[in-house]
Amino acid sequence: MRRDLLIGQKHEVPAEDNDTSIFMYVLTSIYMYLFVVVLAIFMAINSMAGNWEKDITGSITVQVSPIEDANKHIDVAKTKEQLNKVEQFMEQISGVEEVQVLDDAAIQKLMSPWIGSKVDMSTLPIPQLLDVRLKPDAELNYDEITRGMKQLTPNASIDNHRLWLNRLIKFATSLKTIALAILLMVVAICAFSIYYSARTSLNINIETIKILHIVGAKDKFVAKLYAKNYAKIGLFSGIIGLLAAVPCIMLVGKYGISTGSGLLSGASLSSAAWSVIMLTPLFSLCYAMFTSYWTVRKSLEKMV
């Protein structure tokens, strides 16, 4: 089978660059494999970070440990004072909608499974809790808040889990940025390859191009011949890349989930993400088609 870059249907227009063409099929297949794998990684991290995000939006809990006096008794007044300070501090943070001190009754309700309901809460070393409701889409700088709070009192803290998740989300965001950069790079390299191979093909076929020009071919006629062939290359490489990438993605997915980590299980791909992955051959078809079309139009203006 002939797979020339210029030839359309059988012998519509001849071309002499079979080798370049085969090279392009191989090259773009590899690019598309890379593209699909990195795309899957990107979307997996995205959904994972999204799950974490859900955990830390809405509201956070701040606890203030009771302050003890010299006799190891709880200094109720001082604790109350600290609690009020922390409450005021939290209220002035932008992104915070409302701060509510959980009263003893509420804490008792929370604790009753463990201590029953007939205990005087104020005598127990139980931390005081602040329920901090956040505005929708609020992004808090937890490190800064923690620092500010520690200056008020060493006894106050945001719950650990939340802080930790927040750092993980930051990490995931930088991973996402890297993945995105790789995706863009693959797309850019692909464009360059198509550009240079189309240019090369035009140069090899310059005599044919000149004859087409003389018999009245418009630039878009020649560009369409190329676009048709690069569309084929794009579709074919997209499918090959996809077929090679899907087993890899599934393998990694299976491994990630079988670690049993509750965190990683959030990394599974949604059906929407799978649809995006399945659509990549279509994307590469269009991408190769438009890039080659544009390349030929631009080149012809300088060549003939």
Partner: protein
């Protein structure tokens, strides 16, 4: 400039210069050719016949002056407009410039395919024309296998398949014997009679004296139009 009473020229050169890499081969060319005319372009080898011709079939641009073809100023025409103008032009090159690895059929079909004509109509036209140039038996032969004379006939067929308004031929009798040369000339005359403007570049003195048409003579870097009958 043409007078208002005259027919508008199909090709109009106003103070035109043309050359290569900033060096003009021809200067101050001031010639108008009427639609339906038959013109020779004469001059010694190297005088600039091929150069002038390639400007007229819109592959080279004039370096100075105004060139109008079909009444359109070439300098102000965009690429698509120029392509449309080329579709109304047929060219027979000295070296034929066929697509050697394609069949006779595909070569002749090329100008029609470029215009997006349906394949059925293309087939009808090509077969009809192949009979006229007596190549119907070679329709699916690859061009590289043809003789020089056969190639020339394919080149002519490709040039006229579009029923062009202007037909250019560069030294068409250069590589054939006088009998075939006469046959070719009768073919061009025939096309001219049905309205095609014919322009032939040649250094063959015998040809220009046998066929009495107007001629553009290239000499000392400029061009001068001599009417038929009136000889220098």
């Amino acid at each position: 400039m043409t007078e208002a009473t005259e027919l508008p020229a199909i090709i109009d050169l106003q103070n035109v210069a043309v050359g290569y890499d900033g060096v003009d081969i021809l200067n101050n060319v001031q010639i108008a050719l009427q639609s339906g005319s038959f013109t020779f372009i004469t001059g010694r080898s190297g005088a600039g016949k091929t150069t002038l011709l390639s400007m007229l079939y819109l592959v080279k641009k004039p370096s100075k002056g105004i060139l109008k073809v079909f009444g359109q100023n070439v300098n102000f025409s965009n690429r698509d407009t120029l392509a449309e103008m080329r579709q109304r032009i047929g060219v027979v090159f000295q070296d034929f410039r066929l697509l050697e690895n394609m069949s006779v059929y595909d070569n002749i079909a090329l100008p029609l395919r470029v215009r997006g004509m349906p394949e059925k109509e293309i087939y009808r036209r090509v077969v009809e024309l192949l009979q006229w140039v007596e190549l119907h038996k070679s329709i699916y032969k690859q061009c590289s296998t043809l003789s020089g004379g056969e190639k020339q006939r394919v080149a002519i067929a490709r040039a006229v398949i579009n029923r062009p308004d202007i037909l250019f031929a560069d030294e068409p009798t250069g590589s054939v014997d006088s009998e075939i040369a006469n046959k070719l000339m009768r073919l061009f005359v025939e096309l001219n009679k049905v309205g095609t403007t014919v322009i032939i570049a040649t250094h063959n003195e015998q040809l220009t004296s046998t066929y009495n048409y107007q001629r553009i003579d290239l000499h000392n870097g400029t061009a001068k139009l001599y009417p038929a009958l009136q000889r220098i």
